[in-house]
Symmetry: C2
Subunit: 237 residues, 2 copies
DNA sequence: TATATACGATACTGTGGAGTTCCGGATCTT
DNA sequence: AAGATCCGGAACTCCACAGTATCGTATATA
């Protein structure tokens, strides 16, 4: 419904000229939505109270209800405003090799961001079953951008001739996000760099025929940074 | 804490001889726990009320509180009693090939069972962050048996010499469960036979060097049942 | 049959939180 | 300065649900 952003005016809402005293500000929206996301990540939907969000945003409870008709609507907006910024296809890494691209996508900020978003989703997962709208919003905000990014990198590797065009792009593009979700939600272990590299070298690359020999070091070592053996176009290092 | 089962007596509880009228029956426990699991799968932890469980089990609310001190304890027992039966390692399929074993694990009952258990976990996922005990119980009941089964099949394929001993067994054993979870919880699509086969032929087998040529049919076709090309020991068909 | 217990049903209490209302102060417009 | 509106704070109502208590009944022992 509502989109975040510093300030964005929907002209349809300004139809009738309001020129009295102060105009409709709703200038607290970003703070409130950010507070809602924080509380959701920590307490989940049912553990979150309107008072928590209000006090964390240093706002009055009435202010929230002036802006959103119910707790549910607020949460929908909060989830929607999590839609990722740092994953637009136009500025994904382009190192010349699939492995280089995948490694380059491992950024501490992105990992931390992803873990928090997963915790938010975990907090309202019981609602997703009964609210298709919220479920779709959550998917579009959290998993879809990451899967799309991976799919883009895989497709480019195919066009480059680096990997086979019969590779199962759709499934492979989802593997990393699925494994990270499993790790955060069920195993409660952090998604660190070593884990992601073990996925790349132990699952993704072998599955597209780029395995080092075949398969890889069963990821537990400290720094399995060594690139695979056979490589059609190694540009870096 | 409490384990399910048709009837199992903890001798420690029978210490003092109770020989009056009727003995401690608790004969309704299985019905109540099953009802709790059902309600959890449909409504989640916060959506579930004690009255729902009681009425679905055709029991009185007081009966539940005679047996469990609180809603939380009941839920812990309900989750614990979901621990799988049909996945003990001693009777996993043994077809002679990894692909045959993986395909043989696709059983409608097992899929349906798994989806329901995932829905239960989804319903109390927001609690897992604050209750390590419940989180571990859930993991042991739902994901651990499946991952262990896959790990067993992969290790056997290594011993058999069918796949490379450097295969990333731990990650690959988790892939199917992780992808199925993603599909059920986020994408809200059913885990059907075609999807699981596309995982086997598009991710697992290629990753261990058993891909058909390399990669497989990007799973959308109706019956991609054709086994891969090179195969060291084909016994079936 | 007499006794004691476990059970189902139902009424009850207490509490936490959603949503509402009101008010004083701050801020912008004119 | 005067007017109008938004905000933060705090009090309030209302309700759903956890947990308790009571009672009649069914069932098993003796």
């Amino acid at each position: 419904m509502t989109q975040l952003g510093p300030a964005e005016d929907d002209p349809a809402e300004e139809a009738e000229p309001v020129k009295l005293g102060r105009r409709r500000d709703h200038t607290r929206d970003p703070d409130i939505l950010a507070a809602a996301v924080d509380v959701l990540a920590e307490c989940g939907y049912d553990g979150m109270t309107i008072d928590m969000v209000a006090s964390r945003a240093k706002a009055g409870k009435a202010t929230l209800y002036r802006r959103w008709p119910s707790k549910g609507e607020l949460v929908i907006d909060a989830v929607a405003c999590m839609k990722n910024g740092d994953l637009n296809l136009s500025q994904l890494p382009d190192t010349g090799t699939l492995r280089g691209d995948l490694i380059a996508m491992i950024k501490p900020h992105s990992i931390e961001d992803g873990e928090k978003k997963l915790r938010v989703i975990a907090g309202l997962m019981s609602l997703l079953a009964h609210s298709p709208e919220l479920a779709e919003t959550a998917r579009l905000s959290v998993v879809e951008p990451r899967v799309t990014a991976h799919r883009f990198l895989l497709r480019r590797a195919i066009e480059r001739g680096e990997i086979s065009p019969t590779s199962d792009v759709d499934n492979l593009a989802t593997v990393t996000t699925a494994m990270a979700s499993m790790r955060v939600l069920f195993e409660r272990k952090p998604v660190n760099r070593d884990f992601l590299i073990s996925l790349i070298d132990g699952v993704i690359l072998p599955a597209v025929g780029l395995g080092a020999g075949s398969g890889a070091d069963p990821g537990s070592g400290s720094a399995p940074e060594a690139p695979p053996a056979a490589d059609p176009a190694v540009t870096a290092h």
